[in-house]
């Protein structure tokens, strides 16, 4: 059974005052169904991705919230895996399709993060870690520890981190939905305010509102839609201190191995990837863990222009989490939607999306190919 992506939607990402969480879910859902040239009633089931609506605003029961907008009340559920919620919802949707119970499903992810203060948002995001064993930590601080280890082991430099941010902001200029359409210089990144040493403000993805959705089907649709040909789901310990490796995310390696095996592909086949750059260091780790560069080499390669157009592989054409924004529940789905569109536009034939939860406890990899 082949699974094709017949509809996509991405809302603007940013500080969207006039849109509530429900508005975001509704907008993305309806747009995705419309782009698939279907009626709402054609959706057999809905998979909802969201990390923190319970903490941000007290809203749970999101499957029902989204399904309420479909007159036929399709089966719906919410899936959560911190920042990997989107990737996980896609996995759940595909599993459901493969049982044969459903033929066409909607996968929609959204997050509304900017109604609360950034201090409160920091607390909610800290819930992606171990609230007891990692008490006092913030999300940036955990990646900062990974950055320090990476620096100590490979000599990763400030410039190698900064160049990731500069490159992603430049890429975002081509993404109409991106939160930021603003370029930064290396100096600006180097001198931005420290958040958790060595990570600075411009190393960190922003707080964002936004939603993304895809419509997946196993029905034969005439063959022009991109296909999901590989998927992988890797896990590791929730607590950073319990990891075997502190210079790589083993969960990513596990997920990538599974996905590549599914699709019968090598990582060197891929001209374009969307990776989970919640922080600049996370992009370097991703590129090494996916096997695109050797351990310690992603930094030098980035400085060398290998991760942008004209280089070895285009990394984060959307601007990544850093420049296009990171509404947590939406990201994993937005990555797949964005790559699917690039494939439909004929820009690429093969793409890979990489989505991570917390400091690397969950990783999901998807492979999308032109049909």
């Amino acid at each position: 059974m082949k699974i094709s992506i017949i509809g996509t939607a991405i809302t603007k990402f940013g500080e969207l005052w006039s849109l509530s969480l429900e508005d975001l879910f509704k907008q993305a859902s309806l747009e995705a169904v419309e782009s698939a040239e279907l009626d709402l009633a054609d959706v057999d089931a809905i998979f909802v991705a969201n990390m923190g609506a319970g903490a941000f605003e007290g809203q749970m029961h999101l499957g029902a919230l989204v399904a309420s907008h479909f007159p036929h009340h399709p089966p719906a559920m919410r899936i959560e895996g911190a920042c990997a919620s989107g990737g996980l919802a896609l996995l759940a949707a595909q599993d459901a399709l493969l049982t044969g119970r459903y033929q066409t499903v909607l996968v929609v992810g959204a997050e509304k993060m900017t109604d609360v203060s950034s201090a409160e948002a920091t607390k909610v995001l800290a819930g992606a870690a171990h609230i007891n064993n990692e008490y006092g930590s913030t999300f940036p601080s955990l990646y900062a520890l990974l950055a320090r280890q990476h620096q100590q082991t490979y000599g990763t430099t400030r410039k190698q981190l900064s160049v990731v941010s500069v490159k992603n902001h430049r890429h975002a200029l081509d993404n109409p939905y991106a939160q930021f359409h603003k370029e930064f210089t290396l100096e600006q990144v180097n001198q931005s305010q420290l958040v958790a040493d060595p990570l600075r403000l411009l190393d960190c993805s922003p707080l964002s509102d936004g939603a993304a959705a895809v419509v997946l089907t196993t029905k034969n649709n005439g063959g022009r839609a991109p296909l999901l040909t590989g998927r992988g789901h890797g896990m590791d310990t929730l607590t950073l201190a319990d990891r075997d490796s502190l210079t790589s995310l083993t969960a990513t390696k596990r997920a990538a191995k599974q996905a590549l095996s599914d699709a019968n592909r090598q990582i060197t086949d891929f001209p374009v990837v969307e990776v989970h750059d919640c922080f600049t260091i996370a992009e370097l780790l991703a590129l090494e863990d996916l096997g695109i560069f050797d351990p310690g080499e992603a930094g030098p390669a980035s400085v060398d222009g290998q991760t942008t157009y004209g280089g070895k592989v285009v990394v984060n054409p959307s601007g990544g989490l850093k420049a296009s924004g990171h509404p947590v529940g939406a990201t994993g789905i937005k990555q797949v939607a964005y790559l699917a569109r690039l494939i439909m536009e004929g820009k690429f034939e093969l793409a890979l999306a990489h989505n991570v939860g917390g400091s690397g406890a969950t990783a999901v990899v998807h492979i999308i190919e032109a049909s």
Partner: protein, 101 residues
């Protein structure tokens, strides 16, 4: 949802572990300085947060007070307040690490 108040049962389950850690020694693997902290710790920033190797067992802890440690430092576990005490709630005690003088 107010996650910052200390719940009696949560405190009570946690204090069972303190004596296991008090006085234990380890070596700092990596340390960061948190300048933007969770709300209840805002008045204590900058807060140093370290990943420590306790003879093979790894754990991350806040550094005591506003003391500094660097990678390679020998440290020991001490009992400290984990967050500023408010007027009325249970005080959040717990384990932090401190450089061996």
């Amino acid at each position: 949802m107010n996650q910052t108040l200390v719940k009696p049962a949560v405190y009570w389950r946690a204090n069972k572990n303190w004596s296991e850690w008090l006085g234990r020694r380890g070596e700092v693997l990596a340390v960061t300085t948190i300048r933007v902290a969770v709300p209840e710790l805002a008045t204590w920033t900058p807060i140093n947060y370290a990943l420590v190797d306790f003879n093979g067992a790894r754990r991350s802890f806040m550094v005591a007070g506003q003391e500094k440690v660097v990678s390679g430092d020998e440290v020991k576990c001490v009992l400290r307040k984990l967050s500023p005490s408010d007027e009325a709630g249970i005080i959040r005690y717990g384990i932090k690490i401190q450089k061996l003088s």
